[in-house]
């Protein structure tokens, strides 16, 4: 083997590595730019007033208080329904189902979590908005719940599978019923992991916009019960970002900052919980 060939191969290696580094830098650049711009453009208008006031007509300084409240309401409702439902389904897939049925359930859950979320908006529009005669916060919450459910089911199944088999066998050997085994042994052991899984799903659904377009619809005023249209932070960002008014556009960045802060807090709690276990 001659020296020139070796040199060529070494060069090729260096060029290849440099290419990978450049690609990685390109992949990471948008993230840091988005993050810094959201802070730079959003922070100046962020105040208590922004978080508590109603949106104002173009040209006047308003806030997104109703949108923050709407997002919390709908995400809260959706979580209250879909987290227990999802964990129950996860437990069934992990511990009860035959392996063939479990594979079918896993596959359907995976397919469902890949369905474009706007289609769930269409579904809930047909099921609830048409029958109830009006866009509503409740319809928004249902759409969000349907989005969360399959992913909570899949991730909680994995958390339940982490619980040692010996623990379950010990409980069953002591005469516990399957329900007692699940409720007193499996769920408490997996509690941290389940909470993390649930929180990540909550974080994801907090930023969902598309499914709310034809369900919650948005509202410029304080929400008037669950059966009336409801504002949401992502919807408000969308409306302001695509508007022609500079003041609204500036507020869209502040809305984005608020939304990201909300998501970061949820993620931080989830991370803290996983770390505390190790």
């Amino acid at each position: 083997m001659n020296a020139r060939r070796l040199l060529f191969r070494r060069r090729k290696e260096q060029v290849f590595l440099a290419g990978l580094v450049v690609m990685t830098a390109m992949a990471l650049f948008p993230f840091f730019q988005i993050l810094s711009l959201v802070v730079i453009k959003g922070l100046p208008q962020l105040s208590l007033g922004f978080l508590t006031r109603l949106p104002a007509p173009a040209g006047m300084v308003g806030g997104m208080g109703n949108a923050v409240l709407g997002t919390l309401t709908m995400v809260g409702l959706a979580s209250a329904v879909s987290i227990p439902l999802g964990i129950g389904t996860g437990v069934y897939i992990a511990l009860y189902a035959t392996s063939r049925y479990a594979a079918v359930l896993r596959f359907i859950a995976d397919v469902l979590s890949g369905v474009p979320t706007i289609l769930l908006g269409l579904l809930v529009y047909g099921l609830m908005v048409v029958t109830m005669g009006s866009f509503s916060g409740l319809a928004g919450a249902v759409a969000l719940a349907w989005i969360m459910f399959p992913s909570v089911a899949r991730s909680s199944e994995q958390m339940v599978l982490l619980v040692p088999v010996s623990l379950r066998e010990a409980a069953l050997a002591l005469g516990a019923t399957r329900m007692q085994t699940v409720v007193y042994f499996v769920l408490p052991t997996a509690a941290r992991g389940l909470t993390t899984a649930a929180l990540l799903a909550v974080a994801r659904v907090t930023g969902e916009t598309a499914p709310l377009l034809f369900t919650a619809f948005g509202n410029a005023f304080w929400q008037n019960g669950l059966s009336a249209p409801m504002a949401a932070l992502p919807l408000q960002i969308f409306i302001y970002a695509t508007s022609p008014y500079p003041l609204w556009q500036a507020q869209a960045w502040t809305g984005a900052l608020t939304l990201l802060l909300l998501i970061v807090v949820i993620h931080a709690v989830a991370r803290w919980l996983t770390r505390a276990r190790q």
């Binding site: 706007i118 019923t177 970002a241 998501i263």
Partner: protein, 310 residues
């Protein structure tokens, strides 16, 4: 002997959980049924010509979905080509070169990228990406590659190219995460064998890692494609929303998800609404198809990895 009440409780609990799992079927079933039922009017009226009709004119009641199919396919293709090259590169750097002190933070950032809501990407797209494309990237492409029709014509900020780039950025985390896991599954014997024969790392990647990971990479691309085809908000904000089919990537276009997002609440006639539902049904079928294929391919790699370890 267990008490009767205990047995009853146990049985009720099992049935409750079983009912929960039925709701998975119910959800998929009602979704498919509702989209199919609501789109029947458009289907009866236009049949297959709905899919290759070029005219979308709600005023005259003519609905052809081809411009939206075109916009969705072309923007996703642009996004996926870029995201595959970048995503595979990042994954190779993370698994084959980087030490823990680089791989940890980079993986973390990539993970965070998938946590940013679509509407925030769209916001950035409108105010940063689109102006940059109008005044920077597009003129440069036009000057260097203008002989290709794709890079010719009047330049807009909100265009197919912008939508493609934003889809690339949004699917990079998906592809990177899957390819990273697949590359980790490559048995060490294969990699060490290549290195022991005197291969450089780059040659080792070509000899051992990529052949092993190939179907996993294809799977990750399909997974990313499923995401890209259904991506709604960010695309709606930057694609320009004009139902036309032109060769130039610098021109505005429209996508399947964004026409639903924009026009659904304004659809005045039943046929209009039904046509939008039919676009939704197409979207459901296509994303499900790609998702299923992706799953099968990724499973295959994982099973093979387990096979060699035994």
């Amino acid at each position: 002997m267990r008490k009767v009440s205990q047995r009853l409780a146990d049985r009720t609990f099992t049935w409750m959980l079983r009912l929960f799992t039925f709701s998975l079927f119910a959800l998929l079933g009602t979704l498919t049924f509702q989209l199919a039922e609501a789109s029947s009017q458009a289907w009866n009226r236009f049949g297959l010509s709905f899919l290759n009709g070029k005219v979308w004119d709600p005023v005259r009641g003519v609905f052809g979905a081809l411009p939206f199919l075109y916009g969705t396919i072309v923007s996703s293709a642009i996004g996926l080509v870029i995201a595959t090259v970048v995503g595979v590169s990042v994954a190779l750097l993370l698994t084959q070169y980087a030490g823990r002190w680089v791989a940890g933070p980079v993986s973390f950032v990539i993970e965070l990228m998938s946590a940013i809501p679509s509407v925030v990407y769209g916001l950035w797209g409108i105010f940063v990406l689109a102006p940059w494309i109008r005044s920077g990237l597009a003129p440069a492409l036009n000057a260097s590659l203008g002989f290709i029709p794709l890079f010719r014509g009047q330049i807009y900020g909100t265009s197919l190219l912008t939508a493609g780039l934003i889809l690339a950025i949004m699917t990079i985390p998906t592809i990177t995460a899957v390819v990273r896991d697949v590359c980790r599954a490559v048995p060490d014997e294969l990699r060490e064998g290549a290195l022991a024969l005197g291969a450089t790392r780059q040659e080792m990647i070509g000899l051992a890692v990529l052949p092993f990971a190939r179907s996993g990479i294809v799977g990750s691309v399909m997974l990313g494609l499923g995401r890209a085809l259904g991506e709604t908000m960010a695309v709606t904000m930057v694609i320009g929303n004009r139902p036309q089919i032109v060769a130039s990537l610098f021109q505005p276009a429209y996508s399947m998800a964004s026409v639903i997002a924009n026009e659904f609440t304004e659809a005045t006639s039943p046929l209009y609404l039904s046509s939008l539902y039919e676009i939704g049904l197409c979207l459901l079928l296509v994303t499900t198809l790609f998702y299923a294929m992706a799953r099968v391919l990724v499973w295959r790699v994982e099973r093979r990895a387990r096979g060699t370890l035994l």
